[in-house]
Every structure is written in C-alpha cells, then in structure tokens.
C-alpha cells in the first residue's frame, strides 16, 4: 500500500452494482441490497488537485543563480519573508483530506541585513514551502499549517548556486510529500471528525520562503475517512450502513449503541436514495485553479504575488492574458472545462442536448481589484455560456455562480475557457490575483 494512503477507503463488496448492462451468455451473480449500501460507504475516491504553484512557463526561477557575493549586495531573498504565491478555495469531496507534493531543485541563498558596518550577510541556502489551510464548516473553522523544507544547493563560491551543465537541473530534482493534512484534532476528537467529514470548505494559501526553486507543488485530495453520527438524519453523501464483517472501520460511530431508544439513520432504502442524491450534487471535478506569479527575476524583492494587470481600452471584451485578442474564440489559448463525468440529470447532455453539448454548474471565486472605474471579468467557455464578475475597487475575493460549457467526452476539443475583461479607457487597470473554479451541483 502506498505510504500516502495510510487509511485508504477500499470496498470489499460488491464488486459490481446490481444493475449492469449484460452481454449475451454472461454469467451473472445477484447480490443482496446490503451490498449496495456498503458500496455507498466507499464513494470518496477523489484525488483532485486543489492548489498548485509551478514555473508557469517561465525560463527561470525568481531567485538569483548564485553568482553574486552575498556580503556585497542585497541580491537574495530576505531570511524571514514569506511570499504568498497562490490562494485557492474549494469544497472538499466528502471523506477526503489533503496531501501536498513538491518537485524542486536545491535552493538558492538567503540573506540578512545584520546592520551597521556588517551589512548584508548570507544566511545559507534553503527554502520552505508552506500551505496554510483554513478548514471551514458553517460557523466552525480551524487553520492548520504544513511546511516542506527544501535543502540548499552546495554549488558555487557561496553555496546556493544553480546548475549550469546541460540537463543538470533535471538530475538534481528532488521530491517531497506531506502525506496527510487534516484539521486539528481530526484524528482524536470524534466531534471534530464528524464536523469536517462533510461540507468542508478549504482555503489553501501557498507561501514560499528562502531561495526556492520549485518546479511544481500541488495540494490534492486524498480519501481518508468519513465520520458521522449514527443518529444524524441529515443529508449525507454516504449511506453509513457498514457494520461487522469489514476489514477496517470505515464508518466510525461516535457513541455506543444504546438499546431501545437507539436511533440509527445510517440504514435503509430512504437513506440510500438520499446518499445517492447528495453524491450527485456534490461530487465533481475541480475545474481549475490559477494564481498570478510573474516569475520575473526580481519577483522575490516584491515579496508577494504580482497580479496580472489589464489596462483600459474601449468597451471591448479583451483577453486578460493578451489584450490584443478580442472576444470569445475557442482558437485562442485558455483553460479547459473538463466536466464530462459530472453531467447532472437536470442538465443532461444526452437527453436534453442529444449528446452534443454539455454544461456544468460551477462556483467561481476570483481574487481581484481595479483602479478608478467599474470593470468586469467574464469567464467564458462557449459562445453561449459565461459568468460575469464585477471587479471591486479594493482587492477582494468575489464569488459568482453559473453554468459553463464543458467537454461532452473527456477526449474532445470543447469547453475552452477564456478570461475576458472589459476595462474602461480612463486609466483604469484591473488586477487579477487568484482564480478558483469548482464544480457546484
């Protein structure tokens, strides 16, 4: 069993659901209903990536290559300054928690201004990647921090120098994983575990410190465990019927059975139907996450994200990444909406659109700001489907809901998603920092 899945949820039975398409002369095995219920206990197999930070096409890292004497100039990242590189939001798949994985090259130097006649000195070659996760469910919230330490490069006169030989960055690549990131007390307090097993929202802030040379860092879901109160009559995404004859306690109970007054809502046909409905509403792919990082070689001195700026023009819709591109055109570069596996009955592409088109409901959270005059960001994925976001005067996270056109099948060129802006031609500049787009059934 891979180390990153210490308590992976694995179904024992049934191997097949009761209703299947059967080929002629097939051998059939009929399973009892309880096997369906047990299968409903094991729905949380998500591994969606919810936050990431990467080179983003850049030919270099922000941190200097290490050719400057750190005692002579202010050339390297300051020792203690955390720089935010991404802030992403998501609703967790029920029963899942988080894991972090990072690929990087050995870090560059850090510096400290010792003051007086000493001035700048080297504080060694190292880097940190930190994920600050705020777990929220209703009025309850808890924040946890998870940090990966990255070793420094031993190269160069002062240490911390970047590789120079062809391909040498590839051969010095390192990887680290934080296998499990859970809310505080999740593993020790049943009430906390129940609270964050369903409907949990996460805000994931990725920060770096030191001379990071990260190639790709991701925070992704891992199936873990779904706790529930046995007397919870709410609409949960699991049936929770599992009792006895199991290889592991997948549905922990929060108290002992209590005789004649025992009220157990984890069983029965009605619960099975409810669980199915909730799964339909909540389980879906992550559409995208994007964060603005310039990767300019002086970015470390800015100390924070550098937003994608869109300056004003006439009222035309223009592409935020390249304002020479106007309007929606799927031939233009953009993201993709890959929601083919989450086509809801009420939007059923096969029944209502003849299998030729599909839309998925989404929630969009855009971290943005503008100067002077009202501006709009339009996230558009077809000629007919888009979501408008009014960009606020002060930097804020704006939430919007709507529909986006999607691929009908996973191997189809469809659903190209473009960020289009209308920014007035009066000196106004719109700034985009972070975008999270979630399936939102």
């Amino acid at each position: 069993m891979p180390a990153e899945y210490p308590r992976v949820i694995v179904p024992d039975e049934p191997k097949t659901a009761s209703v299947v398409a059967v080929a002629p002369n097939s051998t059939l095995r009929l399973d009892p209903n309880r096997k369906v219920w047990r299968a409903q206990d094991s729905q949380t197999c998500s591994h969606r990536v919810l936050a990431e930070y990467h080179l983003d096409g850049s030919n270099s890292w922000p941190v200097p290559t290490g050719t400057v004497d750190p005692t002579t100039a202010d050339a390297y990242p300051e020792l203690n300054t955390w720089r935010t590189v991404a802030v992403h939001h998501a609703r967790l798949t029920p029963g899942c928690v988080l894991s972090m994985h990072c690929i990087y090259c050995p870090a560059g130097l850090t510096q400290l201004n010792a003051g007086g006649i000493i001035g700048w000195i080297s504080k060694g070659a190292w880097a940190h990647l930190r994920a600050t996760v705020t777990w929220t469910n209703g009025a309850s919230s808890v924040t946890t921090e998870h940090t990966i330490s990255m070793e420094g490069s031993l190269k160069g006169d002062w240490g911390g120098a970047e590789n120079t030989a062809a391909s040498s960055d590839w051969s010095s690549l390192k990887e680290q994983t934080i296998a499990l990131m859970v809310p505080t007390d999740f593993d020790t307090d049943p009430a906390t575990a129940v609270l964050y097993s369903e409907w949990t929202e996460v805000e994931i802030e990725l920060e770096v410190r030191g001379g990071e040379r990260i190639v790709h860092a991701i925070v992704h879901e891992v199936p873990y465990v779904h706790w529930q109160d046995h007397d919870d009559a709410g609409l949960l995404t699991v049936h929770g019927a599992a009792t006895g004859n199991l290889d592991k306690p997948r549905m922990p109970q929060t108290k002992a059975r209590d005789g004649a007054t025992f009220d157990d809502n984890r069983k029965g046909t009605r619960r099975a139907l409810q669980a199915m409905q909730r799964q339909g509403e909540r389980l879906g792919p992550r559409i995208l996450q994007w964060a603005a990082n310039s990767h300019a070689t002086t970015a470390w001195s800015i100390g924070d994200q550098s937003p994608l700026g869109v300056s004003g023009s006439a009222t035309a819709l223009r592409n935020a990444f390249d304002t020479s591109l106007s309007g929606y055109n799927e031939a233009h570069p953009g993201w993709i909406v890959a929601g083919s596996m989450a086509q809801l009955h009420r939007l059923n592409g096969e029944m209502f659109m003849r299998g030729r088109a599909a839309v998925v409901p989404v929630r969009v959270i855009v971290d943005c700001a503008r100067t002077t005059t009202s501006s709009t960001l339009r996230l558009q994925s077809s000629a007919f489907e888009w979501i408008d976001i009014t960009i606020p005067a002060s930097r804020d996270e704006v939430v919007a809901y709507g529909y986006l056109a999607s691929q009908v099948y996973g191997d189809q060129f469809r659903g190209i998603l473009l960020p289009l802006c209308t920014v007035p031609n009066d000196g106004t500049v719109a700034s985009l920092y972070n975008i999270s787009v979630d399936f939102w059934g």
Binding site: Y5, V10, P11, K15, T16, V19, V20, V36, Q40, C45, S46, H47, R48, V49, D56, G57, S58, N59, C105, E162, A166, S167, W170, S171, E175, V222, P223, A272, Q277, G280, P285, I287, W290, A292, S294, P333, G334, W335, A338, M341, H345, R346, E350, M351, M353, R354, G355, R356, A357, V359, S382, A383, D388, Y403, A405, Y409, G410, D411, Q412, F413
Partner: protein, 451 residues
C-alpha cells in the same frame, strides 16, 4: 395523465409544462400544447393573447422555472410578453420604454435590459435557487437572456431576489390580462413559440433546440452520466415514481458517481510565455533535458523536455488515458521559409532522470515507463498561434499513484535550415478519461477491480 415517452425531442422532455409553437401563423396554433401534458391554453378575447386560467398545478411554478419565447417580429412599443397573477402578486416580463423589464411580486422591476436591434429574438427568463443565498432576501437567482437572432448576439442579465409570492390568478402570455390588454401582438410584435419548463434550462440547451445543433462528437471515452435524481419532480405522478426499485436506482447510480471526480491534470494557461530559440539546442541551459529521441539526422536528439512545462499529478483510480491539447506558436524570425516543428506530451511514472548531469539520480527504485502523444507540422505563423495537439496517450502511473506530465519540443525537426526558429507555448491541457479501446472499464470500487 400524460403517457408520452421521453425522448430527445424538445417538446417531449419531462420538465415541459407547456410547449406551443407556430404562433406566427395563428394564435390558435400557439395555444396547442405539443408537450407531454397536451393541455392547451385558451386564446384570449380579441385573439391577441393566450392564457391558462388559474393554473394551480401545471404552470404555477416559481423556482426552478424557465420561460422561453421565440419572437419573430420584435416591437419596442410598451406591451406585455407574459404576466402571471393579479397586480399585487404578479410576475411579469414586458416591454417598457424600449427595455425588457422583469418584475416580481407586483411591479418591482428586478431586471431592466435594452431591447436589441434585431427583428427576431429569443427571450429566456430562468429562475433557480440561488446557490450563494444568504437568506430569504436573495433566495432566488433570476437570469434574463436575450438572443438577437438577426445579429447572433447573446446578452445576459442576472439578479438575486427574494422568494416570490406564488400567484394564483391567470397565466397570460402576450398580454397582461386575458382580455388582451397591453398585447404584444397589438403593439406590432409576433411570437412563434412559447416553452415553459419546470427546471433551470441553460442557454446551451435552448441554442441546441432553437438556434443550431452541434454535430455528434467522435469519442473513445467511457462516459457515465447521472441518472434521474431522487428528488426530481417530473410533474407526472409522484416524485421518484419512475425510478423503479430504489435500491436498483442506487446500484445503477453507484456506477456513475465513482467516476465523477475525474477531471484535468494540467489545466495550464501559461502566463510566462517565453520564446525558445533554436540556438538553445546547443546552449547549456540546465533546465532543458535532451531525450533519447532521434529525429532528422540519425542519432541526433531532437525532442527536449523543459522544467517550465513539467508537473506531477495524482491520477483518478479509473483513468487510463490522457487527452492532450497544447497551444503553441512556431515561427521563423529570419525569413518566410516553413520549417518542421515537433511536440510531444509525455506521461512518466516517475521523474525521468537518466543519470546525466552533475548529480546521481535520486530515484532508482522504479523502472522508468513513459508514453507520449506526438504532433509534427511545418509552420511560420503569427501570434498567438494555434491549438496543435488534440490527441490521447496512456497514463503511466507510479508507485504513489501519481503521473509526471511534461511537454517536449523539437525545432527544425528535419534539419531543413538554419534560420532563427522560435516557439512559444501558451497553454497545456491534459484531461483524464477512460479509453474504452484499451480495455473494459472498472466496475468495482476505487481500487478498480473488475467485476
């Protein structure tokens, strides 16, 4: 009780509460319900409107609801397109001062939008539960979509508003009252079709029915669509009456829900669009890697990966393939000669270290496996470039359930010349899916055990 079997035809959907068409010819035609209820509307006095008297069950729906109209002759004269209920309770869509105006709960306008120029239009008013509601004051999300058929332009207006009071009086189309007061037709307009649905209908579906249908996609992907949701009320019989045995429904749905979180791996619209020169082939840029992939002159490595386009991703347990798309620009900055370029999207089971460079390989435990999709072409194109790869490749998954995705490129693949060849990469997509041509899809749980 309607008995029509549901099909993909626009008038046969379970959500259709009324569907009338051919109204430009005569209102008597428009009043005929070709939907599943087959319950006609009444033609109003003076034959300038159609209406349902006190439609307690069939049309008395506030949320979710979609009312779509095809207008074949547009008028900007003040008039009413539809009106539900008496003055103090009504929902109404009307033309007022050359604007479309949607009002709820009497005369409170919540959406006002200018009437476009086109003489033929489609008007859609969609009401649905507000996903971001904070309480009773914004419980409903209403969207007015106006498609100017003449000029092929869609405009969309959205507002959050309170839960409406359910009107009980007549539902009148094309006038404010069944006597034809403020008739849209009398004002010079003409309505071809009316469709009333008891669910939120996205405009894409309207467009499929009334504007232009897309063609059938070509695919090898396994697809699991959600079946009818448990609480879905078709308006016919009891809720969930047509699911069959509940447990049967659940068993069938399980097969779908296990696939639902399958989506993209890399979904990158790159901000840093560096230009990569042909001269970088011989440079000692550490971030590039020469692959053992000959092209052109025998034995000369051509394709090279770059860390700028490399990442690690966990793989959905049911996925066996990736759909790869890249948006690139390849050009010759010296002259107009076309030159051959190549790209590959790789999936590795681990970091593809082969021992080159200054350090020893860091991961020796797992044999390297990889697959790639490749595209080659001749080009000298302008910005921003083109989607160049729309191909599939198998996913190579490592011991930790992850795959490593990278983009490799080759300048001057066929050694055709020495001009200054350049490439820029603007987007990389890799979408997980199950390729049915590679085997039987897993029907079991997350481990993917076959049934």
């Amino acid at each position: 009780m309607p008995t029509r079997e549901q099909t993909t035809d626009p008038e046969d959907r379970a959500c259709i509460r009324f569907y009338g068409e051919d109204g430009a010819t005569s209102l008597a035609n428009l009043a005929v319900d070709i939907g599943q209820y087959e319950t006609d509307l009444t033609v109003g006095a003076g034959t300038d409107c159609v209406y349902a008297a006190s439609p307690a069950t069939r049309l008395n729906i506030g949320v979710p609801r979609t009312i779509a109209l095809q207008i074949t002759t547009v008028t900007t004269t003040d008039s009413v397109l539809w009106n539900h209920g008496a003055t103090t309770e009504r929902d109404r869509l009307r033309v007022e001062a050359s604007n479309y105006e949607y009002a709820i709960g009497g005369t409170t306008a919540v959406i006002t939008a200018p009437v476009p120029a086109g003489t033929s239009q489609i008007l859609v008013l969609r009401s649905e539960p507000n996903p971001g509601t904070t309480g009773a004051s914004d419980a409903v999300k209403a969207t007015l979509e106006i498609y100017d058929v003449t000029n092929s332009v869609l405009t969309r207006y959205t507002v959050d508003h309170p839960e409406r009071v359910q009107p009980t009086a007549d539902f009148v189309f094309l006038a404010v009252a069944s006597d034809g007061t403020n008739s849209y037709i009398d004002a010079g307009g003409e309505c071809e079709a009316i469709r009333f649905s008891s669910r939120a209908v996205p405009f894409t579906e309207i467009a499929q029915d009334w504007i232009a249908s897309l063609s059938d996609p070509t695919t090898a992907a396994k697809l699991q669509r959600q079946g009818m949701a448990v609480t879905e009320d078709s308006g016919i019989g009891d809720v969930a009456e047509f699911h069959g045995a509940a447990i049967q429904h659940c068993a069938a749905e399980l097969r779908h829900t296990q696939w639902r979180t399958m989506g993209t791996l890399a979904n990158w619209r790159l901000r840093n669009v560096s230009t990569y020169l042909e001269s970088s082939h011989t440079a000692t840029a550490g971030r590039e890697k020469i692959m053992l992939a000959p092209g052109g002159n025998l034995g000369v490595p051509k394709y090279r990966l770059h860390l700028a386009w490399f990442g690690v991703f966990p793989v959905h347990p049911f996925a066996n393939s990736l759909w790869a798309e890249i948006h690139v620009r390849c050009f010759n900055s010296t002259d107009a000669d076309l030159r051959t370029f190549g790209f590959r999207v790789y999936s590795f089971n681990r970091i593809p270290i082969v021992g080159a460079g200054d350090d020893e390989p860091g991961d020796g435990g797992e044999p390297l496996e990889y697959a790639y999709a490749q595209v080659t072409f001749t080009s000298d194109e302008a910005a921003p470039g083109t989607w160049r790869m729309q191909k599939k490749l198998p996913i190579m998954v490592g011991q930790h359930g992850k795959t490593y995705v990278g983009l490799a490129y080759a300048h001057d693949l066929l050694d055709e010349g020495t001009e200054s060849l350049q490439i820029t990469v603007r987007a990389i997509h890799t979408v997980q899916f199950f390729d049915t041509t590679l085997g039987v899809p897993p029907s079991g749980g997350p481990t993917g055990e076959a049934g």
